[in-house]
Assembly symmetry: D2
Homo-oligomer: 362 residues x 4
C-alpha cells in the first residue's frame, strides 16, 4: 500500500527497476487536454543520465500511453503511462542479495516484505521509479499551464559548492544549458569538476535543489492538515535520497527575529504583495500569491564502489561489500525534474480541489 497520492488529481505508481516496466496511472486529469506521448517524453528525457557523473546505463526510454487519451486529447478517464525496461543486467544484485547496501533500502525492504521484495536494481526503491513520477508530472504541468502556473527547479548546491542566487529569468534560461541543471553557469562548471573528482575515488556527493512555482493564485492549500508545505513535503520525500525539505527562509528562520523574518505587506499594481519572501509564498499553509520557494536536500548516492562494511542476512556475520554496476556518483541533476514533477502534481491537485479546473457540466 501507499502507492497513490493526491485527492482529486491522484497518481498511482507501479513497476520495478529491473522488472518489465515502470509506470503510473493518472486519475483526475480533466477531459479535453491536448496530450501526446512527445509531451511526456520531453520531461522524461530530462531525467536521462547526461554526463560523466551519472550512470552510463542507456535509458532509451519510450513513453507509451496505454489509456485515457483519444485522438490527441485526454478523455477524463485514467491515463496509464508505461516505460518498458530495457538493457538490464541484474547479476550484481543476485550475488549480493543477502548483503544490504549501506544507506539503501535493501535491509528494510527485505524485512518488511519477508524477503519477497524485488531486489533487482533496488526494485521499487530505485531512483528509476521516479521516471513514473516525471510522466505524471508532465501532465500536471500541462494542466497548470492552462492557469499560467509555472514550475521551475534547479541545482543550487553540490557538496560545499553553493551557486550564486539567480532571478527567475536566468533560471528559466540557463537550467537546460548544462548537465548539472544549475542556473549559475560558472558554479555549474565547478560542480562538474567536483563530481568527477568524487567519482574518480569511487565516492558520491549530495546537493540541494530549489523548486519555485510562479503565478499561483492566492489561497491554494487546505489547512489545517492538507497544507501546501505538508503535501509538497510528503510528495517530495517520496523521492529516494531526500533528507530535508524547507520553505522560504527555512531552517535559517530558526535563528531569526520576527522583525527580520516577517514579510511586510505592500500594494503593487493594486495587488497585495510582500516586500520580502521569507515565507516562501506560503502563509497559514496557503499560497499568498508570491513565488512559492522550497529547497530539497539530497544525500550522496548510497551506492558507491568503495569497500563498505555490511552484514550477511543469512549468517548474521559482518562482511565487506563492494558494489559494481552502473551508479550515479551525484544524483542531484537528475532529481531536478523529479522535484518539478512532485510540485506540479501537488499544486495541480490543490488547484482542482479549489474548483479552478472544473470538469464540464452543462
Amino acid at each position: 500500500m501507499g502507492n497513490s497520492i493526491g485527492e482529486l488529481f491522484r497518481i498511482t505508481s507501479f513497476g520495478e527497476s529491473h522488472g518489465r516496466c515502470v509506470g503510473v496511472i493518472v486519475d483526475g486529469c480533466p477531459a479535453g487536454l491536448a496530450l501526446q506521448e512527445e509531451d511526456i517524453q520531453k520531461e522524461v528525457d530530462k531525467r536521462k543520465p547526461g554526463f560523466a557523473g551519472t550512470t552510463n546505463r542507456l535509458e532509451r526510454d519510450r513513453v507509451e500511453i496505454y489509456s485515457g487519451v483519444l485522438n490527441g486529447y485526454t478523455t477524463g478517464a485514467p491515463i496509464c503511462l508505461i516505460l518498458k525496461n530495457e538493457n538490464i543486467n541484474s547479476s550484481d544484485y543476485e550475488n549480493n542479495r543477502m548483503k544490504p547496501r549501506p544507506g539503501h533500502a535493501d535491509y528494510t525492504a527485505f524485512m518488511k516484505y519477508g524477503g519477497f521484495n524485488d531486489y533487482k536494481g533496488g526494485g521499487r526503491f530505485s531512483g528509476r521509479i521516479t521516471a513514473g513520477f516525471v510522466m505524471a508530472g508532465a501532465i500536471a504541468k500541462l494542466i497548470l499551464n492552462t492557469i499560467n502556473v509555472e514550475i521551475l527547479a534547479h541545482t543550487i548546491q553540490i557538496g560545499e559548492l553553493i551557486a550564486k542566487k539567480q532571478g527567475i529569468d536566468a533560471i528559466r534560461n540557463n537550467v537546460d544549458k548544462n548537465h548539472i541543471r544549475c542556473a549559475d553557469l560558472d558554479s555549474a562548471r565547478k560542480m562538474v569538476a567536483l563530481i568527477e573528482e568524487v567519482q574518480n575515488v569511487g565516492d558520491s556527493i549530495g546537493g540541494v535543489i530549489e523548486g519555485i512555482a510562479v503565478n499561483l493564485p492566492v489561497g491554494l492549500g487546505e489547512p489545517v492538515f492538507d497544507t501546501l508545505e505538508g503535501d509538497l513535503s510528503k510528495a517530495i520525500f517520496a523521492i529516494p535520497a531526500v533528507k530535508g525539505v524547507e520553505f522560504g527562509s527555512g531552517m535559517i528562520s530558526a535563528t531569526r527575529k520576527g522583525s527580520e523574518n516577517n514579510d511586510c505587506f505592500r500594494i503593487e499594481n493594486k495587488r497585495v504583495v510582500t516586500r520580502t519572501n521569507n515565507s516562501g509564498g506560503i502563509l497559514g499553509g496557503m499560497s499568498n500569491g508570491m513565488p512559492l520557494e522550497l529547497r530539497v536536500a539530497i544525500k550522496p548516492t548510497a551506492s558507491i564502489s568503495q569497500k563498505q562494511q555490511t552484514v550477511d542476512m543469512d549468517s548474521l556475520e559482518e562482511v565487506e561489500l563492494s558494489i559494481k554496476g552502473r551508479h550515479d556518483s551525484c544524483i542531484v541533476p537528475r532529481v531536478v525534474v523529479v522535484v518539478e514533477a512532485m510540485m506540479a502534481i501537488v499544486l495541480c491537485d490543490f488547484a482542482i480541489r479549489a474548483g479552478l479546473l472544473r470538469r464540464i457540466l452543462k
Copy 2:
C-alpha cells in the same frame, strides 16, 4: 476540507482560538485501552505558557471526553475530546480586522474564505489549534506504549544558541526540568535570557526542535508515497510556524560524500544495527530499527509588538500596524509537545497499518 489526517488512526481537528472550543475526533483507537481525562490533561498541560517569554493568557484548559470511552476504557468508537475556550478578549482583532499581520495567515485566510473566516485570535490559524493535536497525540502515545515505542522531543536551538547534544536518558530526564524544554540545562538558562532580551524590545525569536522515536519495529512506513519522512513531515507542517523538517543528517547530508554519510551495518546482540545513524532511522521510507530522528525549524512568532508595515484590505492603502494582546515571543518550548504529538499520531497510524495493533476478532 483538509482537517483530517491518518489512514487507520485518523484524527479530525475542529474549533477556533476564540470560539466556543478547540477539539479533536480520534477514530481508529483500538478498543480496550485504559483512558482517563487525566492522561490527556497531562499532555495538554505541557503546552501551557510557563514563563516570561510565553503569552500570559491564562489557559485553564480542562480536557473533556465527549465520546468513545466507557468505564475508563476506549470502546473502539470515535473519541471526541474538547477544550472549552475561556478568558477570551477579541477586541484587538476587531480593530485590526482588515490589516493583515505580516507573517500570519490573516491575508490568505481572508482571501480563501471570502472574508467569512473566523479572524478572532487567528481562528483556525492560531497555535491554540495544536492543543487538539496534543490531545490526540496523548492517545497515540498510550497506544504506542503498548508496543514499547517511546516518543521524545526537546528544544535544541533558540536563535543562534545551540544546545549540546544529549543522550536519550539525559533528554528523558531533563526536558521537564526547565520551561524551555531543553535537555542541556546550561544552554536552557542562556535561552531563557535570550528570549527575555528579545521580548523586551517587542520582538520574537525562532528555534529548532528535535524529535526522537525509540524502539520502533523494523519496516514501519508504506512506500513509495506513504513514507515515514513523508507522513511525518506532512503532519509536522500542520503546526503553525514550522518552515523546515529534516531527518538524520538532514540538510547537512547535501554537503557530504557517500563514504561519510552511509551508515554501515553491523551485528549487535544478533540484531542488525548501523554504526552511525545519519539516516535518522529511516531507509527507503521505512524504519530500520535505529532511533528515528528528525529536526523541525520554527520561525520567530509572527505577532510582535514592534510597529510593522501592512495594508488595509478595504482601501488597499499601506498602513502601520502595532499588535497588542498576549503573544509568545518564542513559541518553541510550547511546540515541543506538539511535535511529539504529531510523531505519535503518524507512527501509531503506521503501526496499525502494519497490523501490529489489531482489533479483536475471534
Copy 3:
C-alpha cells in the same frame, strides 16, 4: 475506524445513544453559507418520535453548534454539531448485557470490540446515531438549495400496505401532514392502524422509503467506482435496519426486456430528456437530468417485547430474552428524514467534486 464519509464534503460521526452526546463534524462546507442552529433543529425535529407506534422516549434534543460558524455564517472551517443526551435509562441494558438481542448488533459489536463496546442503548449501533447524520444533512440541503437541488423522501410502504404513487408536488405538500410521512394520506391512515395493531402484540413491522432528488445537473458522479448508485447506497446502508437499496426500476428490472426498460430520449424545451425514468435518473453512474429515484427497504425493528431465543455469551447457554424499555414498533417514518440526509450529503459531495460549489479564490 470507518466513521467518516465523503471526499470534499466529509462528515465524521461520533457519540453514543446513552453516552454524553451524539454529534457530527462537517468538513468542507463552503464559507459564507447562512447557518443558524434553528436551520438544523428543524430537520432534527423531523426524526422525533411522533405517534403511538414510535418510542415514547422524550427527545428534547437541542442542536448546538460548537465550531465553524461566526455571526450566522459558515467560516469554511469544520462545523461541529452536538446533541446532548438526556432522559436516559440504561438499566435494561445492564441486565441483559450478555444476552444479545436477535437482529441487533449486540453480538457482533461484543465480538469485534472484545466486550469493550458501549452497549447501553445500543451505543454506536442505535438509531439515535442517525440524528448526527440528520444534522449534517441539514447543512448539505442548504448547500444544494443554492443550486436549486431539492431532496424529498417519503414512506411508500408499511408491511404489505403500499401507498398509491404520488407526484412530486403531492409528496412535497403531504409528507409533513402525517406522522407516517406518507404522501398518500389515505394509505397513511391505514398504515397507522397497522402499526398500532402490530405494537399491541409486542411486535414490529418494516417498510419502504422512496427518496427523490430533483433539478440535479447532468453529469454528477465519478465513475467507475464513485458512482451515484455506489456512493448513495453506501451512505444509506449506514442507517441501521436498511436491507436493500434499488434505483429506478430496481429489482423489477431483472424481470424486464430491454425494449420495456430502456428510457428513450426525446427533446423537451430544447433539453434532452427521457420518456420514462426506469433508470432512476442515473446512466453510467452519473445523473442524466431526470429525477433521481431510489427506494430503501427497512426491516422490522429488531427490539420487540415478545419473548425471543438467544444465548448467554458467558455461559454459552441458550436463554430466553424479553426486551423492556422504549422501542419503536415501526422505525420507517423516523428514517424518512435520515434517507433525505444521506442523499443530500452524497449529492453535495459530488456537486463540490464537480466544481459546482467552488470555494472563493481571487
Copy 4:
C-alpha cells in the same frame, strides 16, 4: 476521478473497451502470495461469452502481469495486470456517435466529459471494463483462501424464471456446468431457451445473481459508514446494469414483522450461530459468522437491435436508432464472476483492515 476503491487493498481501474487495453492496479496485496498469470486467466475466462445469448465477440484475452510479481510470488509492490484489446471494430460507434443509446451512458458521458470521452464500444462504460475487476478479484480470492473464506455467486433468476433454492454444495458443484451459471440445472435449461427467444426478436432480458461468502470471521466491517453492506453495495454498483442490491431477506424484509425476521441465536458446537439467516450474515454492518448472502438485480442489456427513439445531440432532433454489432441479449451469466470479484475485493480489504492478513514485520 473515482477509479480506485479500497482502503488497504486498493484497486485502480484503467483502460477502455476499444482502446489499447483494459487493466487494473492492485495495491496492498501482501508479499509472498504464490501468483501466476494462469491463476488470473482462469477467472477472466469465466467472463467469456459462452453461448447463443452472449456476444460473439471473440475475446482471446491473455492476462499479462506487468509488475509486482517476482519468481511466482507477489513482492508487496503494486501489481499491474493488463488485457490487450484485440479484434475491435468501432465503425458502428463512429456512425452513431451523436445518437446516444437509450439506457446506456453515452449521453451522460458526452455531457460530463464535454464530448472528449472515448465513445468507441462504450469506452469506460462498457461491460468489458469489468474484466479488470475480475483480474483484481482473482487475487483477492487467493488471499481470502489463505483464511478459508470462499466466495460463490450464481444466477438465480432470468426474467420471470426463478431457480429453485440450492445448498452451498450444489452451487459449488453446478455453477460451472452450464453457461447460465445457474446451480438449478433444470431452470438453467429453461433460462437458455428464454434468452434465445428474446434474442430472436432483437431484445434483451435481465436477471438476478446471488452472491455468498462462507467462513467469514465474526466482526469484519468498520461501522458506522464502512459497513459490509455499504462497501459491498458500492463495489457492486460499479458493475454496469446493476439496479439493486439487497442483503439477507432484503426488500422482502419490508413486509415482515420483527418476530418473523429476527434471527434467534443458538449454540452449535460451542459457537454462537443463528437459527435462520434473514440478516444475510450481517448485524450492525459487521459479519456475524453466518454465510453472507446478497442479491443483485441486473437490468436487461441496453443495447438491443430493435429500433429505438433517441435524439441527435448536434441538431437536437429526435431520431431513430438501430444498434448493430456484437451485444449480449442477456449479460447476467457473464456478470456472475464479476459479482464474485467485487465481493472478494471488499472482503479482502476488510480482512486486512482487521489485521487478519498482516504484512511481515520482525
